[in-house]
Structures are given as C-alpha cells and as structure tokens.
Symmetry: C2
Subunit: 448 residues, 2 copies
C-alpha cells in the first residue's frame, strides 16, 4: 500500500452480478459525496487499482466484473431524490436511487419517467443511465439517453464537472452528456442525474392480447402497425416456449398458441385499427379489462424468471433489427435454434425491433457460437448487437464487428481516443466495452 485507505466506509466482500459474473474486488467503498469519491480515486491511482461504480448489480453483460486489482464504488448510500421540479419538469437524483422508488414518487405527482427496464424494481438510476437502459415503453418513448438532461460526474482525473443543463434546449457547446450516458462506468463516476419527466398519459390506454397462429405473424403485425402509422404505447412479444414456462413455473394459465403472444397497448380510439391489422394472424384476440392487462404485463415482466427456472444456464441476448426485417429475423432465429437443437425462449420489445432470445445451452463453446451467430445476423440485417443491455465484456467482440461493418474502423479509434482523453490513466472500468472492442479489432486481422 502506497497510501492509507481513505476514511470512507468500506468492506471486503464478494458479490455476483445478474449475469453470474464473479465480483471479487480489492475493497468496496460506500461514498456519501463527491469528496469521498475524489479520495477513492486518489487512493486507486496511487495503488494502481482500477475503479468500477456499482449500482445494484443488475448488469447482464459483465459490465461490473471485477477482481482483486479493482475497487468497487457502491453507490447505494448516495440514494436521495434531490428535487422533483413540477414546473421545469425534471427530476434531480443521486445515482443510488432505485428506479422503482423514483417511479413511485413521480407518479404521486402526476409524472412519469418512461424508460422501464425489466429490472426497474431493483436497479439504480445511475446504472440505468450508465447503460442507457430501455424497457417496454421504448417503442413510444425511447431509452434513457432520450431522458437524461444533465449529469454531475467525478472525472477519473479528479475534477468534479457537470455536463449538460436541466433544460430541454441548450446549445452551449458540444453534447458531452450523451458521451456519458451509456458509457458503462468507463468515463467517470456519475454523482447526480437530471432527468426530463413528462405528465402521466391523460387518455385511457387499452391492452390487446393476440395469440398468434405462427411466429412470423408477430413481425408482420408490427409492420402492419407501422404501415398504418399506429404508434402504440407498448408492444411486447413472448414466444410459445416462454408461455409454456410461465404456465409451468408461475401457474399463468395462458393459452399456448403456436405463434406466441403479442401484447399491444394503445389509446382507446386506436383499438379497432389494431384489431384490423391483426386480422387473419391470430388464434384468439382479446381486448383486456384494466386488471387483466395489469396481470398480463406482470406476467410479461416475470417472463425471464419463468425461463430461468427451465434451465441451469440462461443467457439473455439483446439484438435490435430494423422493423422491416423482423419477419426475416424471426425465421433466421428459428433456423438457428433448429440447427443447434435448442429453444430460444424469445422475449421481445418487438415494437422497437429489440429481441431477447434467451440462450439456455449449457456447453459454453456451443453457447458462445450461437450467441455470436445471433449477433452477426443482427449486424447483417443492419441492426445492432445491443439495444439496452450494453456491451460490458460479453459483447465487445461483436460490438467491434458491428462498428467495423457499419461505421468504419476510424469510429472505434475515435471512441478509444475519447476514452484515453477522459481517462488517461485507464482508471475506470478498464478492459471492457470500448477499450476491449478496440483491442479485439486491433489484435486480430479478421476484424479489419
């Protein structure tokens, strides 16, 4: 030790994140303010340790993987909602606030923050900002990046800065805010977040559940909505294997239609238009009452839990494909599943093209092969290897492939240079995400 451990609450402890990654840090600190974080940064620099901010560990991509060379900064003691401004329509929070607690406080005042990742009952606002998390309302309202107005950040070089302004419109300088949103803890420690909020919907929202004849109809139904210029509040999908898992493990009692279940919520006066689009594609269609809709969404939210009960391994994919390519992507997923004699238990924010095929293959080599095949299919279709879970360690290689194919090697270079510019000592969450993707692309000629 070159330096005494700073006077900030800390423990030595092992953890595991939601992807099952072991997290065995040198030390876990619980900072209470920015000054504590500066102390921790100095301590890490002097002892050549790296730093990873930790919300509540709901990462699915190895973004908080950590060994003895790293310090975890547990943000759970910085968990205050600092301000809900009902005139300027923003909320200012510390990163350790749980998203569910923020949602509840906002709802009391007639507001919502739309992005609602499936882990909202557990995850932190800081984590959701660092991952630019999405959720079921993405089709209408986008993901976190569309709602973050400004951030307070302790930089890896120790400066405390604010990026952005808590204003809807601001043109003072380059947009650095969006560099930090989705930066996965690689550019600094976020200590305050200003988020735009919006009034709760005023109109009655009706949920339509469609049990589909075949899987492909799901994609065609979404294309039908698009062609008819119908923008739903939500449009979700689960396949037949997910329905079966829900029935078996959560006693859901859902009809097991071959093509799975499509759940579409729209403002009341759009219901007939949606039903028309679904014509000929369904075994059964149901316009739900309020409590039924709630039950359906609660089951949808628990779908991953039901699938997890089916298998020892569970690996959540997170591809995005252009809506126009949904039917083709669905066919491709079917044929990949057949080839490897497996099921994908597809859960999907289908309305924005974000598909979560869940891989339950136990053999790690075959699992990796399937994982990459699915990712490459998304890339080939002009889609993305991640819509909302992020990159971490698990998707760095595929991210490199996507950027080299869609954007150009120079784009990955620029991202890497920006990382070095903001974090010259490579202190924050090293060897993951952009850095790891850049290394893949520069160490292996196959990628160029």
């Amino acid at each position: 030790m070159n330096n005494e451990i700073p006077n900030v609450e800390h423990v030595i402890e092992e953890r595991e994140d939601f992807s099952g990654e072991k997290v065995v840090p040198f030390l876990i600190f619980y900072p209470k303010n920015e000054e504590d974080i500066v102390k921790i940064i100095n301590f890490a620099l002097e002892n050549k340790l790296s730093i990873i901010p930790w919300g509540y560990g709901t990462s699915l991509t190895g973004a908080v993987k950590c060994d003895k060379s790293c310090i975890l900064i547990d943000m759970s003691k910085m968990n205050k909602i600092l301000e809900i401004n009902d005139v300027d329509w923003y909320v200012r929070v510390q990163p350790g606030v749980r998203l569910i607690d923020l949602f509840e406080e906002l709802e009391k005042k007639g507001f919502m923050l739309p992005p609602d990742p499936a882990s909202f009952f557990l995850c932190s606002v800081g984590g959701a900002t660092s991952e630019s998390s999405g959720g079921m309302k993405g089709v209408k309202y986008g993901s976190f990046r569309e709602w973050v107005l400004a951030l307070k950040v302790v930089l890896p070089t120790g400066e405390i800065i604010k990026v952005g302004e808590p204003l809807r419109k601001n043109r003072a300088g380059y947009d650095l805010t969006h560099l930090f949103v989705g930066s996965e803890g690689t550019l600094g420690v976020i200590t305050e977040i200003w988020l735009r909020i919006t009034p709760l919907p005023r109109r009655k929202i009706v949920t339509i559940v469609a049990w589909l004849k075949d899987f492909k109809s799901a994609g065609e139904a979404i294309i039908g909505l698009r062609k008819n210029r119908i923008l739903p509040e939500l449009s979700e999908y689960i396949d037949i294997d997910v329905i079966k898992a829900l029935n078996k493990n959560l006693n859901a009692g859902l009809k097991e239609s071959q093509g799975g279940m499509l759940i579409i919520s729209v403002e009341e006066d759009l219901v007939n238009d949606v039903v028309k689009v679904l014509e000929g594609k369904t075994e059964e269609i149901k316009i739900t009452k309020d409590d039924e809709a709630e039950r359906i969404y609660s089951l949808r939210a628990q779908a991953a839990i039901a699938v997890k009960a089916e298998s020892k391994t569970f690996f959540a994919e997170d591809i995005v494909v252009p809506i126009s390519k949904l039917p083709y992507a669905i066919e491709e997923l079917n044929s990949i599943a057949k080839k490897y004699n497996t099921k994908f238990y597809i859960i999907s924010h289908i309305g924005d093209g974000n598909l979560h095929p869940n891989i339950v293959i136990e053999d790690p080599d075959i699992r990796q092969k399937v994982f990459e095949e699915i990712g490459r299919m998304a890339i080939d279709l002009g889609g993305s290897i991640s819509g909302e879970h992020g990159i971490g360690t698990q998707k760095a290689k595929l991210m490199a492939e996507q950027i080299l194919k869609h954007n150009g090697a120079k784009v990955l270079d620029l991202m890497y240079e920006i990382k070095k510019l903001i974090d010259p000592n490579d202190l924050m969450n090293p060897d993951k995400y952009v850095e790891l993707a850049w290394k893949y692309s520069n160490s292996n000629n196959n990628y160029k």
Copy 2:
C-alpha cells in the same frame, strides 16, 4: 498554390449570411459526393486553407463567417431525399435538402419531422443538424438532436465514417452521433443524415389565442400549464411591439394588447383546461377556427420579418431560461430595455423557455453591452445563452462564461480536446464556437 484546384465544380463569389456576416471565401466548391469532399479536404490541407460547409446561409450567429483563408463547401448539389422508410420510420437525406421540401414529402406519406425552425422554408437539413435547430414544436418534440439517428461524415482527416445507426435503440459504443449534431461544421462535413420520423398527429389540434393584460402573465400562464400537467403541441409568444410591427408592416390587424399575445395549441379535449389557466390574465381570449389558426401561425412565422422592417439593425437573441424563472426573466428584460431606452421586440417559444429578444440598437458598443447583459441574466437564472441558434462567433464569449459558471473549466477543456482529436489540423471552421470559447476562457483571467 501547392496543388491544382481539384476537378470539382467551383466559383469565386461573395456572400452574406442571415446575420449579415460577410462571407468572402477563397473559393466555393459544389461537391456532388464524398469523393469530391475528400479531394477538397486534401486541397485545403496542402494549401493551408480552412473549410466551412454552407447550407443556405441562414446562420444567425456568424457560424459561416469566412475570409480568403477559407474554402466554402456549398452542399446545395447534394440535395436528394434518398429514402423515406415507412416501416422503419426514418428518412435518409443528403444535407443540401431544404427542410421545407422534406416536410412536404413526409406529409404526403402521413409523417412529420417535428423540429421546425423559422427558416424552414429556406434552410438545409444539414444546417439544421449542424445547429441542432429547434422551432415552434420544441415544447413537445424537442430540437434536432432528439431526431437525428445517424450521420455519414467526411472527417477532417479524410476518412468517411458513419456514426449511429438508423435504429431507435442502439448501445454499440459511445454516442458520437450527438457530438456531431450541433457541432456547427467544426468536426467534419456531414454528407448523409438519418432522421427519425413520426406519424402526423391523429387528433384535432385547437389553437387558443390570448391577448394578455401584462407581459408577466405570459410567464405565469406557462407555469400554470406546467402545474396542471398540460403539454401543449405549441406555445408561442409575441410582445406588444412585435404585434405593432406586424400591424404596421404586414397589415395584420391584430389587437394590440399591453401584455402581448400568447398562442397555445393543444389537442381538442384540453382546450377548457387551458382556458381555465388563462383566467384573469387576458384582455381577450379566442378559440380559433382552423384557417384562423393558420393565419395566426403564419403571422407568428413572419414576426421577425416585420420587426426587421422597423430597424436598420436586427440582432436576434436566443436565450433559454427555466420555465419557473420566466416571470422574473420577463421583468429583467423589461428593466434592461428601460435602462437602455430601447425595445426588445420579443418573439418566443415560450413553452420551452426559449426567448428571442431582438436587439435593434444601432450603436455597436451599446448593442454588444445589452447583448451580453441579456446572456448573463440567462446564465444567472440557470438558463442557457442559446437554445437553437447556436454559438458561431457571436456567442463564444458568453458560452465560455456559461460553461465556466455551470459546468466547470474542465468541460470546456474536454470540448476543445475533442475538437483537436477529431480535427488535428484545425481544418474545419476554425476560431469559432468551442475553439473560440476555449480561447476566451484561457486568454483572459476574468473568465476563470
């Protein structure tokens, strides 16, 4: 000349932008594709000339100011709408497309791109992207930065890259797209733009015109809307001097109420709620018929023209203040006007706190003084010195002040370092915007 002039259409010509800045470039090129632009970049580098992309010259802040040391790249020959995708809900265009032409094509297909700067009938999509332009619909739909999905860019180092993906959700790497949106031609030449589009509103929109008793009521009315969780489609304001200018110069025949005119458009079922908010604040209130509403908006759109006819000089301010500070900001503007014995002819996207006091003072020193006083008031109120017009040369000093006060000197340093990283030869639009702001802050101790 170290190099022959490349084989790309060009002229020698003088121009003037909308802010009255002289544009006397060494040469004006009309590229037809990315390869032409690479040739121009190489020519500029070898001859130590700088480059400025030019849309249709509607900049109000000196962003395209240019002398004999600079080459203008006129993008008007790259003016194709390449794709309107009615399933994936994006449009892909070249930068020289006029915004009005894009609006018309989209409307035919039932779509809109909401940001509608007052110059939409003239300006280019490339210009609006480079400035992150706003407009009247900003209160509900934000400005350009919320609608750009991806960009093709020729970098100042000659590489052709794409940043972003034409997908609503994409987590593959740091968000570089938002660095280029609002970069004012300082980071590269944008050659293709993917923009998100959305269906035209399905519901009847009704426009309410309120002639106010006093100016302050305008701010209080907007706060009232906010407190009642009413999100209008538009909410615009013009003060009594603008009304008088419209009556005098465009024969508008509008009632000249002391407090100016507030124009609020909402979905039909919200009209009564709005009227209730306005109670006690108006001399007269009118719920307009469709053609009346159109006439009112057409007059609102021509307000700047009417004001320009009143004075030899016309200098459009563009501050943003938090909604909660609107009444105070309005009082402050009144007292600054009194102090300098002038009128501000305020035009405002008041619903998002974006105020355009128009300075008509002829003496350049006093004009500059007033200009800075207004900007500093916005900064002091936690607002911004620009909402949608950008920085260029005119606001660089105030931008430095805002960032030093709200964000920290390190933020300006980071912006400057990013400029150097992407444009190491300082080729693109040098000595403006971020670079100029950084120089102000580092050359004068008063700013630190």
